[in-house]
């Protein structure tokens, strides 16, 4: 067994941190690490938090962490912020809102840059969840990049997903745009201390009357919270528990997990296949010649693709 995996299983937080780095960096040991972590995963409950920038995702993660800690549960937090497509750099600032838990050994917080991923999570987020899961965290909060209308990765990653909205941030048309409506298991109108929270909640509710999500038996509740004074947090936790119970009893939970596994296997096969292909095709040196022919319009890209794939023949 990899020394780091052993240390992680023994509860060494430095090993957890190191493993996440190696996974993120696509290090040579990555596959071995993930293989050995896998048997120890599947126990944590993964709670996704998504919403536009400044909606209060980090503050909500902070409030939820406090609440769950009081119940004696251990928490992992993965907070994703955008990587600049121009420089590859990132400023990861989600910890600012979570300083209260900085010294609590029952809370492990990790910030990640998207590093080129577009779906609201980093490519390595799912794998980092596995590390925290194997580390024995009861609940893993995953906070997406603040984008708002297209970060659907979280749905394929979390057991329960909450979409965070604010009062006064656009009419009801914003809420019925594709995506947001379908990915929410729970809606949260955060900053409910501000004017317009009731109106916002009513509008979302009215939209839900017209139909919701992929599951006819679960109507996403619309919760109102304020992280300033903690209003609505116990009710939100209650809503999460209810969704969890529903998901388990209705088979949704097992179904989502099965789909996630299938997607992971498919992605991994495709990834390896790609590597194998370019290893084989690259070695033959035929590619450059074919491309030259294409440049002179003697061959088309489709014929070339077929010829390259012929390395798998026989």
């Amino acid at each position: 067994m990899h020394e780091l995996v052993q240390r992680l299983l023994d509860g060494d937080r430095r090993a957890v941190a190191r493993i996440i780095t190696l996974i993120e960096n696509n290090a040579q040991d990555k596959e071995q690490l993930l293989r050995e972590l896998f048997p120890h995963t599947g126990r944590a409950f993964v709670l996704g938090i998504t919403g536009s920038p400044g909606a209060g995702k980090s503050s909500l993660a902070d409030s939820l962490t406090s609440y769950y800690r009081k119940q004696g549960l251990t928490i992992g937090v993965i907070a994703v912020d955008p990587t600049s497509p121009f420089t590859g750099g990132a400023i990861l600032g989600d910890r600012i809102r979570m300083q209260e838990h900085a010294l609590d050994k029952g809370v492990f917080i990790r910030s990640m840059g998207t590093r080129g991923s577009l779906g609201g999570l980093a490519r390595a987020t799912k794998e980092a969840i596995k590390a925290l899961d194997a580390y024995g965290r009861d609940i893993i909060l995953v906070e997406t990049v603040g984008v708002g209308q297209s970060e659907l990765d979280i749905m394929a990653t979390a057991d329960t997903t909450m979409v965070v909205l604010n009062p006064g941030t656009g009419d009801s048309i914003q809420t019925i745009k594709a995506g947001i409506m379908e990915i929410a298991d729970i809606f949260v109108v955060n900053k409910c201390d501000r004017d317009g929270a009731d109106k916002m909640a009513a509008e979302v509710s009215a939209m839900l009357d017209l139909g919701h999500g992929q599951n006819p038996n679960w109507r996403p509740p619309v919760m109102k919270t304020s992280t300033l004074d903690g209003r609505g947090i116990p009710e939100l936790v209650e809503a999460v528990s209810k969704h969890r119970e529903f998901a388990v009893s209705s088979g949704l939970f097992a179904n989502r997990r099965a789909q996630q596994l299938k997607a992971e296997v498919t992605e991994t096969v495709e990834h390896y296949l790609k590597e194998l292909l370019w290893q084989k095709a690259g070695a033959s040196g035929e590619m450059d010649k074919l491309l030259e022919d294409a440049a002179q319009r003697k061959l088309d890209p489709y014929t070339i693709a077929r010829r390259i794939l012929a390395v798998f023949d026989g």
Partner: protein
């Protein structure tokens, strides 16, 4: 293909509330392609070290304008060592007199210290040089 991205924790320890310098430097690191974890104001040495460990950073950069550098740098270094995180490079900047810089760097409490007016390109180049 392995890609090592430099991760830096930019921290503001202690009581001074001036974080403009820290933000300028955080931005310079970002523009240099690094991942910068920014934790906000009024951090204790314990909080800084715990964040550095969980985030598995290569470098901790502390901005100290309060005059408490002779306490803060040795304390953070001590905590890093105690937690087996002595591989993390501790550096910083702020209004720190020449003789204090000499003492802190000679005793190994900080690998390098930069003062107001330092060129951000030089700091970036220095980090790239020490993180292998």
């Amino acid at each position: 293909m392995e890609e090592h991205k430099i991760r830096v924790l930019v921290a503001k320890p202690g009581l001074d509330g001036h974080d403009r310098g820290a933000k300028v430097i955080a931005r310079a690191f970002r523009d240099a392609g690094m991942e910068v974890i920014y934790t906000g104001l009024h951090q204790t040495p314990e909080q800084i070290v715990e964040a550095a460990i969980q985030e598995d950073v290569d470098v901790v950069g502390m901005s100290v304008l309060s005059g408490a550098h002779m306490t803060l740098f040795p304390r953070v270094k001590e905590l890093l060592d105690e937690n087996g995180a002595d591989n993390i490079i501790l550096m910083g900047g702020g209004t720190i007199p020449e003789e204090d810089i000499r003492e802190l760097t000679e005793k190994g409490y900080a690998k390098a210290l930069f003062t107001p007016g330092a060129n951000t390109d030089d700091i970036v180049a220095w980090i790239r040089g020490v993180v292998q």
